[in-house]
């Protein structure tokens, strides 16, 4: 199915990079039915940064897994560039909250993994991977194994590995959730920095309101039981942003408004 026809009929905008349409997901465990998601719809434009925030257990990971093709929706569709996607593919790169580096591969080999799976030659993919290792500021660790890296460094490699595959959409499920507060702030700045240099479209999940405001253009606020996007919230803060953005008046105003909306759901 091609969604562009429908998109053209309802709006004058060009087709979104990522379209999520009316996604529902029911789980049946021991005879009990859990409606994890119901009628979730949103669009992420090309080059956009869309964050989903919501309380723990409201269905954020379930949603992201469906977008990635790792889980199947009970109903509804996910489309990338107007083409419906049901199974996982390199067009939707993912960074998980848990550490998912391949321990038997060095940093550079981890980053080059997707290219190797795609059949790219050794020299070529190493050169390409080098760029992404530099992008996440890990040039000094190209040949290190994951066990030699800190948590923050591991997530930087995971980011580089996802980006090196040039995904149409980058999916991130609370990627900094397991890190300490200081490292998390460094990672947020790094991600802003990377986004200044590389063109990317991001769907980001977090339960940290400040993180969502700092990084996003649009925030989808999820309500629970059943999980749904209850509100969309535009962040009117100019880029480039950095850690200092967090103490600006505009940031604080955004935060106040967002907290109000967040409380009301």
């Amino acid at each position: 199915m091609n969604l562009s026809a429908r998109a053209n009929a309802t709006s004058t905008e060009s087709v979104a990079k990522l379209s999520v349409r009316d996604i529902s997901r029911r789980f049946e465990t021991r005879g009990k039915i859990v409606e994890a998601l119901k009628g979730v719809s949103f669009d992420v434009p090309s080059g956009g940064f869309y964050s989903i925030i919501g309380h723990s257990g409201c269905g954020k990971s379930t949603l992201l897994n469906i977008v990635a093709g790792l889980d199947q929706a009970t109903s509804g569709v996910v489309a990338v560039d107007g083409v419906v996607r049901r199974s996982p593919g390199p067009d939707r790169g993912m960074v998980f909250q848990s550490y998912t580096l391949f321990p038997w591969l060095s940093v550079i080999e981890n980053v080059a993994f997707g290219m190797r799976m795609g059949g790219m030659g050794k020299k070529e993919r190493r050169e390409a991977a080098q760029h992404y290792v530099e992008l996440v500021k890990l040039s000094a660790f190209v040949d290190a194994y994951p066990k030699e890296l800190s948590g923050g460094m591991r997530q930087r490699v995971a980011l580089a590995r996802a980006l090196a595959n040039k995904p149409a959409v980058l999916l991130m499920d609370e990627p900094f959730g397991a890190l300490d507060a200081e490292t998390r702030e460094q990672m947020q700045e790094l991600l802003l920095n990377v986004r200044n240099k590389e063109f990317m479209t991001v769907l980001f999940i977090t339960h940290d309101i400040e993180e969502a405001i700092l990084l996003s253009e649009t925030i989808g606020i999820m309500a629970a039981r059943p999980g749904r996007v209850a509100h969309e919230f535009k962040i009117e803060l100019p880029y480039p942003r950095d850690a200092a953005t967090k103490v600006s008046d505009a940031f604080v105003q955004n935060k106040r408004r967002l907290i109000e909306v967040f409380k009301s759901i």
């Binding site: 897994n65 990635a68 093709g69 790792l70 996982p88 593919g89 390199p90 939707r92 790169g93 993912m94 998980f96 848990s98 998912t100 391949f102 321990p103 038997w104 591969l105 060095s106 993994f113 997707g114 190797r116 799976m117 795609g118 194994y145 994951p146 066990k147 995971a158 590995r161 996802a162 595959n165 995904p167 999916l171």
Partner: protein
């Protein structure tokens, strides 16, 4: 109080290498000293407890006439052949069991059933079917180790984190690629660790097989020595089996740390 002393009782805290190896050496030296004292005290019959010197003398005799080396050679060969065969079959099947539920359904319940049958009970059948040649001994080791090993390998493959598998899919890997490029390498350290443990069982079963039907080998010689009341030979051979086990264990550890420098290890 020296710092190493306070380290001893702390859970998983490393201790100095010198301390580690001193304690390890003492666990060999102390029993040997007790043995020497007991045998030279005169309270225990020489026939039941030969002295370390008697055993050493016997070692020299058997080494010089070559019998020791040929016995070691035969037993090592049988362990190697039987265990390699078990590993070659158990590793792929175990990985499939830990990866696909259908493979689990095919192999797991049946393996669980067979694994509780004492391997030694198969000896009469083995002798009936394949005689008492080398095949019988290798088959004995195979039966003794395969059914344990395959379940251990399956358990290892099952511990590969699902997020690690999923991230490979999102990087464009096909199912086949995920199996060969993710599940297999991710299982390697656990797999080698379990090979190391089951290799010990292979040593048990080679002796069992040789006690019953063999003309040479460590187990056979122990049986023969019993007939002639040569307790010094029995002592010698039991110690040698222990040493060979220890040596193969160390070789496996060495291979494992050399070929997999990336693996997380328990620090000494």
């Amino acid at each position: 109080m020296p710092t190493w002393l306070s380290q001893i009782g702390r859970i998983r805290a490393p201790i100095p290498a010198a301390l580690y190896w001193t304690v390890a050496a003492a666990t060999f030296v102390i029993p040997a000293a007790i043995w020497w004292l007991a045998s030279s005290s005169g309270y225990v019959d020489r026939l039941f407890l030969p002295s370390p010197a008697d055993v050493a003398k016997q070692a020299v005799v058997l080494a010089e006439n070559g019998r020791l080396w040929s016995d070691i050679g035969w037993s090592v060969f049988r362990v190697f052949a039987g265990f390699t065969l078990a590993a070659i079959v158990a590793i792929p099947i175990g990985i499939l069991m830990g990866t696909y539920h259908i493979a689990d359904a095919i192999f797991e319940p049946f393996t669980d059933f067979v694994r509780y049958m004492p391997a030694a009970a198969f000896i009469p059948l083995i002798m009936l079917y394949v005689g008492i040649g080398e095949t019988a001994k290798i088959l004995m080791i195979f039966i003794g180790t395969y059914f344990q090993l395959v379940l251990l390998v399956a358990a290892v493959a099952r511990t590969v984190p699902i997020d690690v598998i999923n991230v490979a899919y999102t990087l464009g890997a096909s199912r086949r690629q995920v199996l060969t490029n993710v599940v297999v390498p991710a299982s390697l350290p656990g797999l080698v660790e379990n090979l190391r443990i089951t290799l010990g069982w292979a040593w048990t079963y080679v002796i069992v097989a040789e006690l019953i039907a063999a003309q040479q080998g460590l187990g056979f010689r122990i049986m023969e020595a019993q007939r002639f009341l040569k307790t010094d030979t029995i002592f010698l051979y039991i110690a040698i089996i222990g040493l060979l086990g220890l040596a193969s264990d160390q070789i496996m550890r060495r291979i494992s740390s050399k070929t997999m420098p990336w693996a997380e290890t328990f620090d000494r």
